[in-house]
């Protein structure tokens, strides 16, 4: 008996035109086509979506939680990126 296992795929579904794909879960399948068909059966049984992406889990690189501080810190000092940084005189509307 083969000890090689079916690989893991991550599943992303877009629920409606105009919205983005959202991660909904994962599944094992022998190949991409099977992953797609199983994702349709398991994750869109109640009309949850109109588009499915499947990606082999081994293709995904995630940010490391222990580096969370150093990794995201640079954004915090750049307060001028936010519209609330700028003061406007009274009487200016629709801006």
């Amino acid at each position: 008996m083969s000890n090689v296992h079916w690989p893991l795929y991550e599943v992303f579904i877009r629920s409606k035109q105009g919205l983005s794909h959202r991660h909904v879960g994962s599944l094992h399948a022998a190949d991409e086509q099977m992953a797609l068909e199983n994702a349709r059966d398991a994750y869109t049984r109640r009309s949850e979506g109109c588009s499915i992406w499947v990606v082999k889990a081994s293709e995904i690189i995630a940010s490391q939680p222990e580096e969370r501080g150093a990794f995201f810190d640079p954004a915090e000092t750049k307060i001028y990126r936010h519209p609330t940084f700028y003061t406007l005189p009274d009487g200016i509307e629709h801006m």
Binding site: W6, L27, Q64, P65
Partner: protein, 309 residues
């Protein structure tokens, strides 16, 4: 701050633990055990109901039952996915289940002897599962909590269809009513056992509560289920097989009799009515399906080789 300290703080602040975060080894192990066994329960749970697929009394009930068993396969899949984020492999824990080294819910070791059992499983067994799973929607491990939210939505379909099937029997002939009462008599206590041992007899409870894996004790959830369900039994014009059951006006809770813990221990130790049959069916499916799994893999490799070339 140590890893342990940071973890404790996150638990205290109700920030979900995610797959990439540091967690104590025991937390990881407990979750693999609990989520893995939860997943196994979905898989084994297809057998008692699947037993009546070919014999469902109408096309409507048959289609409903098929949809329900399909949902259970999907629930197993969500839960195996959640378990795998903890670093275990689905195949390994499935093998442990087949080898009897991991458990599944005690309830699925009871046989389905008549059609009414199917309605009663939907109503009582899925009803008990929902009480348990709604509580787990706030469990501290993010992937588990998200799987529970998804599953609870679908389980409520199961519970409602089960109750409706029971209602049809309750409003039917004397024979149908008898069949329903018989099913309730056989599944009532096993459904109460689904919540696990009494709190003072539950070895994993204290730590699981501290880590917020569990949000309520077994007894509290069991009480909630009894309080919810007794009025439903009455609505059907049926009775609960418990001579000690009575409503306590002072506490607004139902008091109920003692569970047969000896029976419970026998069942989870593998000596219930259907333990052997259930595992034998799953082992047979695994072994006889080996060549199909290999064929799918060989075909995938061939397709891949052609694409690369």
């Amino acid at each position: 701050m140590t890893e342990q300290h940071r973890f404790d703080e996150r638990i205290a602040q109700e920030i979900a633990i995610e797959a990439q975060d540091w967690m104590p080894d025991e937390y990881r192990k407990t979750l693999i055990r609990q989520i893995g066994q939860h997943a196994h329960s979905e898989i084994v749970g297809m057998l008692p109901e699947g037993n009546w697929l070919t014999r469902a009394p109408s096309l409507k009930r048959k289609a409903i039952l098929l949809a329900k068993v399909q949902d259970e396969a999907g629930h197993g899949l969500y839960l195996y996915s959640a378990a795998e984020t903890l670093g275990c492999a689905r195949e390994d824990i499935y093998q442990k289940m087949l080898d009897g080294k991991m458990k599944y819910s005690s309830i699925f070791n009871y046989p389905t002897l008549n059609w009414a059992d199917i309605g009663v499983i939907g109503w009582l067994v899925d009803g008990a599962a929902i009480v348990n799973q709604v509580a787990l929607c706030r469990t501290s491990y993010g992937p588990y909590a998200r799987a529970m939210v998804k599953i609870c939505k679908e389980e409520s379909f199961h519970q409602r269809q089960g109750f409706e099937a029971c209602m049809v029997l309750a409003q039917g002939s004397d024979e149908q009513r008898q069949m329903l009462q018989d099913a309730i008599n056989r599944f009532w206590w096993p459904a109460l056992m689904m919540f696990g041992p009494n709190d003072d007899n539950s070895p994993n409870s204290a730590q699981s509560l501290a880590w917020k894996i569990k949000r309520f004790g077994n007894d509290e959830l069991r009480q909630r289920f009894v309080d919810n369900t007794v009025p439903q039994v009455e609505m059907l014009g049926m009775t609960v097989p418990d001579k000690d059951l009575r409503f306590n006006e002072a506490t607004s809770h139902y008091e109920f009799g003692e569970i047969d813990w000896e029976e419970f221990n026998e069942v989870i130790a593998g000596r219930g009515l259907c333990n052997e049959e259930r595992l034998a069916a799953k082992r047979k499916a695994w072994e006889e399906g080996a060549w199909v799994r290999e064929a799918a893999l060989a075909y995938a490799e061939k397709q891949h080789a052609q694409k690369v070339a």
